[in-house]
């Protein structure tokens, strides 16, 4: 190939002009994609017609006719497919939300434990991370569900837990707290305590700036937010009653029922994700150089103050982005619910609804759109956060 033409300006043959080439490539790419999309749509239309499936979103308002074992909002067999969608979405959000909280707690504990000077503690934490990360999540879910929870005693031999709860292979049955007369004072006090704690913080900060005196903010917050409602609760004569579950011959009546599917999914997701969070936390703390702690110590800061004012603010910058990623992973992984029959979005919608209506394209598109929305919103928030906290460099 001749490489002439590079320096004789006027006569670049289109074959060697980078702008031409890139235009051609892009047009070709577009053509290929348009062709693929067109033929896919065409085939789909024909195939659907042959199978006599009407496309469109009319099914949304049709009666679903199936039951769901866990519903956070009113739902029955006469509800619509649309309603079933919301039930599934809420169930997904419930398990993901709780899972995120538990996984974060376990993950931070294990991550810090891995850095412990105590050899036994750090090795134990290391073993946890190593084992859990190297086993497929699905295997762990099946284990929790089939080998642990489903292997619990039958209804008739239910384990009786302290406080009037039952545990058997149909789930966990807890007493249901029912607010008695005068209970409303407790949430009221909680709100007041919360407001008080916020005011106290502002006041403490102002006073500290003025006089240098420091106030026990943590203790005060705790007292106001937890102590105040608790005191109100006790003083107003414990205005709460429990609806205890009662064991009948064939079922358990009353109380709160927690499905084994839900428990298995929650355990599995939390324990699995916690192992990854532990690694994130460990890396974040290690990313703060030793020099930073030494500088803080040499200024006379206490270890606690050093952690609070120097290490944590820097470590969080490293931790938060991958941590969010893990939260997203947990949310997406909650779709494994379908393997153990927890009624989440995928199980209800992409499973049952799809099978009943046959409207694969619409159903899958809606399901994916939900996850995609969650992911995109989270990553937009993340970009905003990253830009805000980025360390200023030259």
């Amino acid at each position: 190939m001749s490489r002439a033409g590079a320096d004789e300006k006027p006569a670049i043959s289109p074959l060697h002009d980078p702008r031409w080439r890139s235009a051609v490539y892009q047009v070709l790419l577009c053509a290929v994609i348009v062709f693929l999309v067109y033929s896919a749509v065409d085939n789909a239309a024909q195939n659907l017609q042959r199978a006599r499936i009407a496309s469109g979103f009319d099914f949304w308002h049709r009666t679903a006719g199936f039951d769901i074992s866990q519903t956070l909002i009113d739902y029955s067999t006469v509800s619509t497919y649309g309603r079933a969608f919301w039930v599934g979405l809420l169930n997904t959000l419930l398990v993901a939300g709780l899972g995120i909280i538990i996984a974060t707690i376990i993950g931070f504990i294990v991550g810090i434990a891995r850095l412990s000077k105590n050899a036994l503690v750090s090795r134990l934490a290391g073993g946890y991370v190593e084992v859990i990360r190297n086993l497929p999540l699905l295997l762990q879910l099946l284990f929790w569900y089939n080998a642990v929870l489903k292997a619990l005693p039958e209804l008739s031999d239910s384990l009786v837990l302290p406080g009037g709860a039952f545990l058997n292979n149909r789930g966990l049955f807890l007493p249901q707290p029912v607010a008695g007369a005068g209970f409303s004072v407790v949430p009221l006090m909680f709100v007041i305590g919360l407001a008080g704690a916020l005011l106290f913080r502002v006041w403490a900060k102002r006073r500290q700036e003025r006089t240098g005196l420091q106030a026990p903010i943590l203790l005060a917050t705790f007292l106001l937010v937890i102590g105040l409602p608790l005191a109100a609760f006790l003083l107003s004569g414990v205005p709460i009653e429990f609806g205890y579950p009662e064991k009948g011959r064939f079922n358990i009546r009353g109380g709160i029922e927690i499905l084994p599917e839900f428990m298995a999914l929650l355990f599995g997701l939390s324990i699995y994700t916690a192992a990854f969070i532990a690694e994130v936390v460990r890396a974040g703390i290690l990313a703060v150089s030793h020099g930073q702690t030494e500088a803080a110590y040499s200024l006379g800061l206490r270890p606690g103050q050093t952690l609070r004012r120097v290490v944590i603010p820097q470590a969080m910058r490293v931790i938060v982005p991958p941590l969010t990623n893990q939260y997203l992973n947990l949310t997406k992984n909650s779709s494994l619910a379908v393997a153990i029959g927890y009624p989440d979005l995928v199980q209800i919608f992409a499973g049952t609804v799809l099978n009943q209506t046959g409207q694969a394209v619409e159903v899958i598109a809606i399901t994916m759109a939900v996850y995609l929305t969650i992911s995109l919103v989270t990553s937009l928030l993340m970009n905003w956060y990253n830009a805000r906290i980025a360390l200023v460099e030259r």
Binding site: Y25, N47, N118, L120, L135, L139, K332, L336, V346, A360
Partner: protein, 384 residues
């Protein structure tokens, strides 16, 4: 020795101090124990707590897996509790009997040697590519990414013309399927991932746009939904007569999914290559593809090997999800076998899961060890 304080203006040491051994508590096993386990009350409490946890976990686990386990037997009777044996551990007899099923699924027994041959071909490819001392890697790559897949297809699917009877993929199962699914993921995700990564860094706006949309779309949704899409929507999108078989649909889903993740891994590697390398390559007059193929990609992939292996680990674990679209992978065969009435006992499920856990753990652990070793090797050769 001069115990004297040199506070005067001048001092010269007359005699050097030879190094002394440390005070007893600082060294040896006792010193280690003191600093590592018993320094301070908090540490002692932690030591006791974790010790208790270990005692709570390890002995029962060993008892179940080894000491109380049943090693041989013909059916469930062997693994049931009897008056003379009130505690039963793992039922390894069950695993022994069903091992063939776990490895080959319903692959015809007479043809199983073909699966074994495939495993051998695969092992050669893996060693050739990964062993740090292996030579002629390029040839190895061609073997792994081109030759071996073709041979594997012929071997596993069959080719009556050369005397290999056809075996439908519905008969495949167990470890074979797990290996095929992850193998296809591995073989396809790297090249597609590289193309997508290059596309995402391309200066052509449309190429970039399509790459970004694909990558972010796939990474934004769960694999389960991708598999559902592949299994119910793929047949809609192609003419009826081509309708792909179930395994092929899942393979397409897994390969696309893995490619999007691989693209991000490769992109990170490309970003780590300093500007000067691009400029140097352009300065000697290399075209875009030559520059990428000869200068940039080899370097980028080298530093990315640990991350590539890590995403293969994730892929390997994710292959279990084909279970959900009804394919008999390794985990699914265990799931099917554990409820078989012939072997159903209270310990069968746990035994099955324990066996699966051991297999998956060994595979993933070896891969992650390899990734870590590579990483250590890379950081040492890159420094100084």
């Amino acid at each position: 020795m001069a115990a004297h304080t040199p506070s005067g203006t001048s001092y010269v040491r007359a005699q050097a101090v030879a190094p002394l051994p440390p005070p007893l508590v600082e060294s040896g096993a006792i010193g280690w124990l003191r600093t590592a386990l018993f320094s301070g009350p908090l540490n002692i409490v932690l030591t006791i707590l974790s010790g208790a946890l270990i005692v709570l976990i390890v002995p029962p686990l060993l008892n179940f897996l080894i000491f109380d386990a049943t090693w041989s037997g013909a059916d469930r009777e062997a693994c049931l509790a009897r008056p003379d044996r009130p505690v039963v551990g793992a039922c390894w007899a069950f695993i022994r009997e069903r091992l063939g099923y776990f490895i080959y699924g319903f692959y015809p027994i007479a043809e199983r040697w073909r699966v074994d041959a495939f495993f051998v071909l695969l092992t050669i490819g893996i060693i050739w590519l990964l062993a740090p001392t292996a030579r002629r890697r390029t040839l190895g790559a061609i073997y792994f990414f081109v030759v071996m897949p073709v041979l594997a297809c012929v071997l596993l699917l069959g080719w009556p013309a050369i005397g290999l009877p056809e075996v439908s993929t519905t008969q495949w199962g167990g470890m074979l399927v797990t290996v095929v699914v992850s193998g296809v993921g591995i073989v396809f995700s790297l090249p597609i991932g590289i193309v997508l990564a290059l596309g995402r860094r391309s200066r052509m706006p449309l190429v970039k746009l399509f790459s970004v949309i694909f990558i972010e779309f796939v990474r934004g949704v769960p694999l389960v939904t991708v598999l559902f899409m592949a299994s119910v929507m793929l047949p809609l999108f192609v003419p009826e007569q081509w309708s792909p078989d179930k395994l092929l649909r899942a393979l397409v889903g897994v390969a696309l999914f893995a490619s999007a993740y691989m693209a991000e891994v490769v992109r990170a590697g490309l970003q780590a290559i300093p500007r000067g390398q691009y400029e140097g390559a352009m300065a000697v007059g290399l075209s875009y593809w030559r520059m990428m193929g000869l200068i940039i990609l080899p370097q980028a992939l080298r530093v990315t090997i640990p991350n590539i292996v890590n995403s293969y680990i994730a892929l390997f674990k994710d292959t279990t999800l084909v279970f959900i679209v009804g394919i008999f992978d390794f985990l699914r065969t265990i799931e099917a076998a554990r409820v078989d009435p012939k072997w159903a006992t209270p310990v069968t499920s746990t035994t099955g899961y324990a066996f699966a856990a051991i297999v998956y753990f060994i595979c993933c652990y070896l891969m992650s060890r390899y990734a870590r070793d590579m990483e250590a090797r890379l950081t040492t050769t890159h420094r100084r």
